[in-house]
Symmetry: none
Subunit: 231 residues, 2 copies
DNA sequence: CTGTTTTTGTCACGTTGTTGTCACAATCGC
DNA sequence: GCGATTGTGACAACAACGTGACAAAAACAG
């Protein structure tokens, strides 16, 4: 009952090498040679991670990635993209696909293994914190189970959106979240449009959190970050 | 599923020798006898490295090199130039062509093999560091995930541009970056114009990095370099 | 079903931070 | 020393962000 990794790749040699190494590391593997069978495999059993080649015989890996991101039950499944170098990295990790990481081909297998482990560790931490029913950061208390937030002794009334925004920031604290990522994961829209929506809500959230608002740092030109340590 | 190397060269003997040795080293090879077929080969499959003779029957190797550098998807592909002696080394490694390295003909094949390996290793290290979420060089700490920079215990506030500039320099540390390259990769402008922009921002970056500013070396007449070892 | 309240997206404006350019000083290589 | 190149500080144009206001949309209550 190990973690299952779905490999979507059509080069037989590479598939073999990946399967061998991943199984060596104690993961279960499943292979799909094209986009269509990838979707079928995903429908069948939800993997802990998808390793996805962008170049597939029948459809673009980007489409597969988008499909995963649009499927409610798959949304949280991390995706590691294999790509030839130069293939517009921004679009891969940014709004367009929403991959969690990528490796440039040709790559050494050890590097990929490191990346796989890093992603799974991260996603485990995130899902763990999601399932934790309580959390404290400084004066900020979040009760996920009860859907309640407290600053010091004072209960804070957050709107659903504000709560969601705080949750994403807090669970990923210490890592800067771009506006694109926030729009995707909180608002559920794929937009490159320049909108002040994120900023406005960030401002409201900051105001409601009072002294804890200072934990939210602005990263100019990029987005926002919930500090990992006392500001 | 080895790394593919494209050889662009018209001398049959040399081609044969190169192919043999490169395959011996475990690389896949593909040959183009002139510039036109080189471009076609590039369009077809992106190689991990291009070995390019400057003297071609139909067009100059420099043109091929420039084409690669102008193509969005090829930009990062390293190019190793073969040249008869004296052929304006500056223009080859400098802005005009943007080659990564060059070998003067006649050369010993072993040396070329060394260069090839060195270039490929470098480009792999680069792509690896591109995703690292943290990095330390002397007193300089860069947290890519958090988008933060620290010198010693002190947090340094960098503007988006300064951050980008530092990132490019650090990831390519040990190698001089010409102003043209920096303008292209940081500013995203193709300019042969003489501007003091790079210098000014380099100065600001140096000032903000305090003692770590000394890691940034000026290369007169060319550009700047982030030292690979303690200055 | 209707009126009320809450939530949310958008806008405009002011403020602050950022960046390109320039003039001039300092420095380097010869 | 001389010319070319780079460092440095000042500054104005510009872009990004914070903030408050407002109206549309959604949720809610009666």
């Amino acid at each position: 009952m190990n973690e299952l990794i779905l490999i979507v790749e059509d080069e037989a040699d590479l598939v073999q090498s990946l399967e061998y190494n991943l199984q060596q590391q104690g993961y279960d593997t499943r292979v799909a040679l094209d986009g269509q069978s990838a979707l079928e495999a995903l429908d069948e059993k939800r993997p802990a991670l998808v390793v996805l080649d962008l170049m597939l015989p029948d459809m673009s890996g980007l489409e597969v990635c988008r499909w995963i991101r649009n499927e409610e039950t798959m949304r949280a499944t991390p995706v590691l993209i294999l790509t030839a170098r130069g293939e517009e990295i921004d679009r891969i990790t940014g709004f367009e696909a929403g991959a969690d990481d990528y490796v440039v081909k040709p790559f050494c297998v050890d590097e990929l293994m490191l990346r796989v482990r890093a992603i799974l560790r991260r996603s485990q931490v995130e899902s763990q914190e999601l399932h934790a029913d309580k959390m404290q950061i400084g004066d900020l208390f979040i009760d996920f189970a009860a859907h309640r937030v407290r600053v010091g002794e004072k209960e804070v009334e957050l709107t659903p959106l504000e709560y969601q925004l705080l949750k994403v920031l807090v669970i990923r604290r210490g890592r800067t979240q771009s506006r694109e990522v926030l729009l995707r994961d909180v608002w559920d829209i794929e937009a490159e449009v320049m909108t002040r929506t994120v900023d406005t809500h960030m401002q409201r959230l900051r105001a409601k959190l009072e002294q804890c608002g200072e934990w939210i740092a602005t990263v100019r030109g990029v987005g926002y970050r919930f500090e990992a340590e006392e500001p």
